[in-house]
């Protein structure tokens, strides 16, 4: 038996080499295709995004110019003037809708027989009505009782007897001041931009015929029982 290898080129597995190189080539081609597709996709997206950005920038420039134009027509000074005028008008309207009839009705239900109301002066501001009342009573206890009754009625709060003095008639004269809570009071909104609050109000000025406010019908002054100043005091 011949045991010597007489081949000039020793054997190796060429098929395996071809297989490895073929696989590498296939992978390389697949990567190439993927990269090519990715480039196309990136290019497309970039073009689209650039176009959208340009469109947004154009819109911004256009809108910016229009904003400047609109802002030019509404200067801060003019806006402030309008806001001040609107606040003033609102305050006047609030004063106009203050119901004296309702106020007297509520006073009459709380006025003790030995106290007399001599002066009423409301200070109406946006959101609050402070009322100053001059009263005359037989003694300080009666006036204190009146203050308690006012607060208990829910119509007043934080009532303070600011001054009290004995008169020549041996009566006590006092000045009371407190917050008056209207049942359907003036609008509380200020006029921040000059328009909203005014437009919410009844620009006609005259109070509406609302029974809850003590205006017509329900609060006919002839229904009054105890006149301030017409009580027991001389």
């Amino acid at each position: 038996m011949l045991r010597t290898n007489l081949a000039t080129r020793p054997f190796y597995n060429e098929r395996a080499v071809h297989l490895v190189l073929g696989a590498l080539a296939l992978v390389g081609l697949a990567v190439l295709a993927t990269l090519a597709l990715r480039v196309m996709d990136l290019s497309e997206r970039n073009t689209e995004l650039s176009a959208r950005a340009e469109q947004a920038e154009r819109e911004r420039a256009e809108l910016s110019a229009r904003t400047t134009e609109v802002q030019g027509g509404v200067s801060t000074v003019v806006l402030e003037e309008v806001a001040v005028a609107a606040r003033e008008a609102n305050t006047l309207i609030d004063q106009r809708v203050f119901s004296w009839t309702q106020f007297f009705n509520r006073i009459e239900t709380t006025l003790p027989p030995d106290v007399m109301v001599t002066l009423v002066r409301p200070d109406i501001a946006p959101g609050s009505v402070e009322v100053t009342m001059g009263v005359v009573g037989r003694d300080l206890g009666a006036i204190t009782h009146f203050i308690g009754a006012l607060e208990e009625s829910g119509a007043f709060s934080s009532v303070l007897n600011q001054t009290a003095e004995l008169t020549d008639d041996d009566m006590y004269q006092a000045v009371l001041r407190g917050s008056y809570l209207q049942e359907d009071g003036p609008g509380l909104a200020d006029a921040p931009e000059g328009a909203a609050a005014l437009s919410d109000r009844d620009v006609d000025g005259a109070p509406e015929s609302d029974p809850a406010r003590g205006t017509p019908d329900a609060s006919d002054p002839r229904t009054a029982q105890v006149p301030p100043g017409g009580g027991a005091c001389p």
Binding site: Y12, V17, H18, L24, A25, G28, L32, L35, V39, L42, R45, N46, L49, S50, A53, A56, E57, R60, L63, T67, V70, G73, V74, L79, V82, V84, A85, A86, E88, A89, L92, Q95, R96, F98, S99, W100, T101, L119, V120, R121, E193, G194, A195, A196, L198, S199, V203, G205, P207, S209, P216, S219, P221, R222, A224, P227, P228, G229, G230, P234
Partner: protein, 192 residues
């Protein structure tokens, strides 16, 4: 010659093709994919910036438009208030106090004992006021009727203060000192 060198030598053509394919892959990534990715990131940043700027400008435009609309609305309301609700001038305001208040006092059985009036320009305002203090005598019921009719009348008269006192006449008679006011827009030619 080792087996490895022999394979390289014998399969040089095939190996070159594979190497070229891989080189093209690397080149494509380095010179196309990477730059385009960077470009796209830049475009996305530009788009985000443009979007946020557009939103800001849109908000500013909306605010300016709203302010403009508010101003127009307020101006219209104010013009209506000045022109239709308040007296137009001092003469019209005067007419509200006399004869209107005089007639109202008579209709409610009150006696007008004294009246003082003063017109003045309101500070920092285009309005001027006409204030009047009226001293009226009568029964409490009539005083309430007078106030009731005054506050429900369409005329723009504000009651500023009410002072009640005992009259000198009958026991039932009271004296009402009433502070009233009205406002009108002062024209430039009217002066102070």
């Amino acid at each position: 010659m080792s087996l490895y060198q022999r394979v390289l030598s014998e399969k040089r053509g095939l190996l070159t093709v594979v190497a070229l394919i891989l080189l093209v892959d690397i080149g494509l990534y380095a010179f196309a994919v990477y730059p385009w990715s960077s470009k796209l990131a830049g475009s996305e940043r530009r788009m985000a910036s443009a979007s946020s700027q557009l939103t800001a400008v849109t908000d500013a435009f909306a605010a300016a438009s709203e302010a403009n609309l508010s101003k127009s609305l307020a101006n219209n309301q104010l013009e209506r208030f000045y022109g239709e609700v308040l007296p137009r001038d001092l003469a019209e305001a005067r007419g509200l106090f006399s004869p209107y208040l005089h007639n109202l006092a008579e209709e409610t059985n009150l006696v007008l004992e004294r009246r003082t009036s003063v017109a003045e320009k309101e500070k920092d305002s285009s309005l001027a006021s006409l204030r009047s203090t009226m001293v009226l005598a009568g029964d409490y019921e009539d005083i309430r009727e007078f106030i009731y009719r005054l506050e429900t009348a369409p005329e723009f008269i504000l009651i500023e203060s009410v002072v009640l006192g005992q009259g000198n006449g009958s026991d039932d008679e009271l004296v009402l000192t009433l502070g009233v006011s009205t406002y009108y827009r002062e024209r430039a030619d009217e002066g102070a």
